[in-house]
């Protein structure tokens, strides 16, 4: 059975996605930094599902290694899902450009390098799908996290272009824009419960959207309308707001 490749596999949503795809009968490549932390998880999933779960080390910021890492995969994955993300700290980024660079490289620049390599392979085979998990934060820049937002915005735009390029070759590209999710990334934040969903629920919705061949989805649905509202606030008002 075919393999699915998950980047940023240590995140809660990634783990939930891995479970979903294994249950659907796919084998898995899981990639992340210090991937050995996932051994317990991978072993458990292997026993529960009876599928192959292979761990591969990947430091997304070391783009010089991307091609080699991808080319070493045998067989090649039929689908790739990127959950790489770094919220970072806006306040630090404002005074330390290295931190700002790290946020932008992790959320945008470095992923495009890896995705392009996989995309070329899929294009050649005329088969496959790519799912990029971006963020609603990329829809409009806000004082509280505009480095993160700008990077996600760039990533969303990149995915849109990639979708356009790969469409004639039957390769699907899905942009996922999650709102609030209850995960490790947000465990210290107080999130309004009716706008927040669990990692498991988010993963389930992502798989559903991917299976349906959707282009852009908000996870979950309220966020499409919230972002439409926020997007339509005139800039002269928006700049005075605290969001």
């Amino acid at each position: 059975m075919s393999y699915i490749l998950i980047l940023g596999a240590k995140s809660d949503v990634a783990k939930a996605l891995a479970k979903e795809y294994a249950e659907l009968g796919y084998n898995l490549y899981l990639m992340s930094r210090k991937v050995s932390d996932l051994e317990l998880f991978a072993n458990d999933l292997k026993i529960r599902s009876g599928k192959e779960v292979l761990l591969k080390e990947l430091d997304i910021l070391k783009w010089e290694n991307h091609a080699e890492i991808y080319n070493n995969l045998e067989p090649k994955p039929i689908g790739l899902i990127s959950l790489i993300g770094l919220l970072g700290d806006q306040k630090i980024a404002e005074n330390d450009f290295n931190h700002a660079l790290r946020i932008m490289n992790t959320n945008f620049v470095a992923i495009t390098s890896f995705l392009e390599i996989a995309a070329n392979d899929m294009k050649e085979k005329k088969n496959g799908f790519i799912v990029g998990v971006s963020s609603v934060a990329g829809d409009r820049g806000r004082a509280s996290n505009y480095y993160y937002g700008a990077a996600k915005s760039g990533f969303s735009t990149f995915l849109s272009g990639l979708r356009n390029r790969l469409n004639p070759f039957g390769v699907k590209v899905l942009t996922v824009k999650p709102g609030f999710m209850k995960t490790k990334m947000t465990e210290d934040l107080e999130l309004p419960s009716f706008l927040t969903i669990s990692a498991e629920k988010a993963a389930h919705l992502i798989v559903k959207a991917q299976k349906k061949g959707r282009d852009v989805v908000y996870i979950f649905w309220v966020w499409r309308w919230i972002m439409m509202l926020i997007g339509n606030i005139p800039e002269f008002l928006f700049k005075k707001m605290k969001l």
């Binding site: 072993n43 009716f194 309220v222």
Partner: protein, 559 residues
């Protein structure tokens, strides 16, 4: 509550303004009727959404049909009350004001009632406190779920006393305390050796998960209790047993070893060879020696997902004892007993016997489960309903042909088919009373106890009688060679006195009460019946854990 009433007002206004709007654009024959219909529908939907998202804070986007139905039902019900009161006032006092006063009182009663109905039944907002399966006793608690060995160590490092909690299936207060360590995130499978059948997994893994994965590969639990929704850690802590105790013993008999985190964060490997006193103390030790982390157990090879079941109906206790003796070599046996039968029918029962089939059919899928969505009012279970159920059950089972194939789920876990069946006993909860008597005095003792229960008319649906094999070496394991009876009693007046009385009989006959079910036995009863208790207390002192692990039960019994 205030928000709730504000929303009620808002949706009423919405209702009326919709009607007003409708009337201003439509002037037909059914003007009034259609206006009322549209206004009511609009107001209802608005209020449903407001209540769902803002009062009861539900996050699912899906409008659940069942939820909507129940919500509509409570609306209908409370509207009837509202109309009824208004109507009553109207006729009783015959003035215009009294009608409005009646309407106001009726509406208030209706809304307050609806608030509680919606809260408890429709949106099921329950407190975050963990309860035991019997829902008695209840205490305020906070729980924490370690995700790894190191986070567990950090938690244990706090200056707080804890009790480990698996899946909350022990009936009494053995897993209840102010602070609870929940094992639900420590639920990873680690490895399986298909040559020996040795499975290694973290303690939070559920037996139901093991069954789901391994039955189709030809493996089953060597020892399994009557529910599969317990964790490995819980199975060790209560040293649970199953229908094959008379042949295969307690859960610890399939246990190779486990690792245990002590109060100081040290991790000890425990088996019959290494740290064996700690092993004997922990098996059956109700989580009071530390937190079990990894577990190694042996599974049993099976050749079928089917059990060949035989039913033997027995007219009274004498026949039942004879049947247990005749069939003592059958691997699985348990008897359901009608505890309300009287006189010469005392002990009227159905003995269920089973052996795994040999047909090679391992194509196993877990069964779909029904649910009890809310607590039933506790008056639903009373002498009459229980009597009716027991009589009916006896005659239905008696009429069945004696040998047939049943699935693993139906044979081992009949109650697992109904999620939250404990809610049948109502909010106040219930007690399960399970005692065991030495073989020699079992008949005499059971006759005595069953007579008392039938006379007091305190029956239970599921009275289960079982033959046990030899006692093991663990310090607090429940089984001794003899017969045990398990009964459910809903919490009501007189029940504690009755059980205290039964305790006396059990103590005098040299029996004991099962800790995993207990929420009420006295320290004296406990100390007189568990003969290896001093070993357990000594170990607890030696490893210095009494300042770290405690439960309501351990405090009550001085463990």
């Amino acid at each position: 509550m205030i928000i709730y009433l504000a929303f009620a007002l808002l949706s009423t206004l919405f209702n009326l303004s919709l009607q007003y709007l409708w009337v201003s654009i439509y002037n037909g024959r059914y003007e009034l009727e259609s206006a009322i219909l549209i206004g009511t529908l609009g107001g209802f939907v608005l209020k449903y959404l407001l209540d769902k998202f803002f009062v009861f804070k539900r996050s699912e986007k899906k409008v659940d049909i069942k939820e909507l139905f129940f919500y509509g039902f409570t609306s209908f019900f409370t509207t009837i009350i509202f109309w009824g009161v208004e109507w009553f006032f109207h006729f009783a006092y015959e003035s215009e004001y009294s009608m409005y006063l009646g309407g106001f009182i009726g509406l208030s009663i209706g809304y307050i009632l609806k608030f509680y109905l919606d809260k408890n039944f429709v949106f099921n907002v329950s407190s975050r406190n963990l309860n035991s399966w019997g829902n008695y006793p209840k205490i305020d608690n906070s729980s924490i779920e370690p995700v790894s060995k190191s986070s567990l160590k950090d938690i244990i490092g706090d200056h707080v006393k804890y009790i480990p909690y698996g899946n909350g299936r022990s009936y009494g207060d053995s897993a209840l305390s102010k602070n609870i360590i929940k094992s639900s995130e420590l639920n990873k499978f680690i490895g399986f050796d298909p040559d020996s059948g040795l499975l290694e997994a973290q303690a939070g893994v559920l037996l139901s998960d093991i069954i789901k994965i391994f039955v189709s590969k030809g493996w089953f639990l060597k020892i399994s209790p009557g529910t599969s929704y317990i964790t490995l850690g819980g199975a060790i802590a209560a040293d649970v047993h199953g229908k094959n105790h008379h042949i295969d013993g307690c859960f610890s008999s399939c246990l190779e070893s486990f690792t245990l985190m002590l109060a100081n964060g040290d991790v000890k490997e425990c088996s019959r060879l290494e740290n064996k006193e700690l092993f004997y103390a922990t098996c059956g030790g109700m989580g009071l020696t530390g937190v079990i982390i990894n577990v190694k157990i042996y599974l049993k090879k099976i050749n079928s997902k089917w059990i060949t079941q035989n039913l033997v109906s027995c007219k009274n206790l004498k026949e039942l004892f004879a049947a247990f003796k005749t069939h003592q070599n059958v691997t699985y046996s348990v008897a359901w007993i009608d505890c309300l039968a009287k006189g010469s029918s005392i002990g009227r029962s159905i003995l269920m016997l089973g052996e795994f089939g040999e047909d090679g059919d391992l194509n196993y899928k877990p069964k779909r489960r029904l649910n009890v969505p809310f607590f039933l009012p506790s008056f639903c279970l009373n002498y009459i309903t229980i009597k009716a159920f027991n009589t009916l059950y006896y005659f239905i089972k008696r009429g069945k042909k004696s040998s047939f194939k049943v699935s693993i789920d139906d044979f081992f876990y009949p109650l697992d088919a109904i999620r939250n069946w404990n809610r049948l006993y109502g909010k106040n909860g219930f007690l399960q009373y399970q005692f065991i008597l030495p073989e020699k005095v079992s008949y005499e003792g059971l006759l005595k106890i069953l007579t008392i229960i039938a006379k007091k008319k305190k029956g239970s649906f599921l009275a289960v009688l079982k033959l046990y094999g030899e006692e093991n070496e663990n310090y607090l394991s429940f089984p001794i060679k003899g017969y045990s009876l398990a009964l459910d009693f809903k919490i009501e007046r007189g029940i504690f006195e009755l059980l205290d009385h039964l305790d006396q009989i059990v103590v005098e006959l040299g029996g004991r009460i099962y800790l995993a079910k207990d929420a009420r036995m006295s320290r004296e009863t406990f100390e007189r019946t568990y003969h290896k208790l001093s070993n357990f207390r000594r170990i607890r002192q030696e490893i210095d854990v009494s300042n770290k692990f405690e439960s309501l039960q351990s405090k009550r019994l001085g463990l």
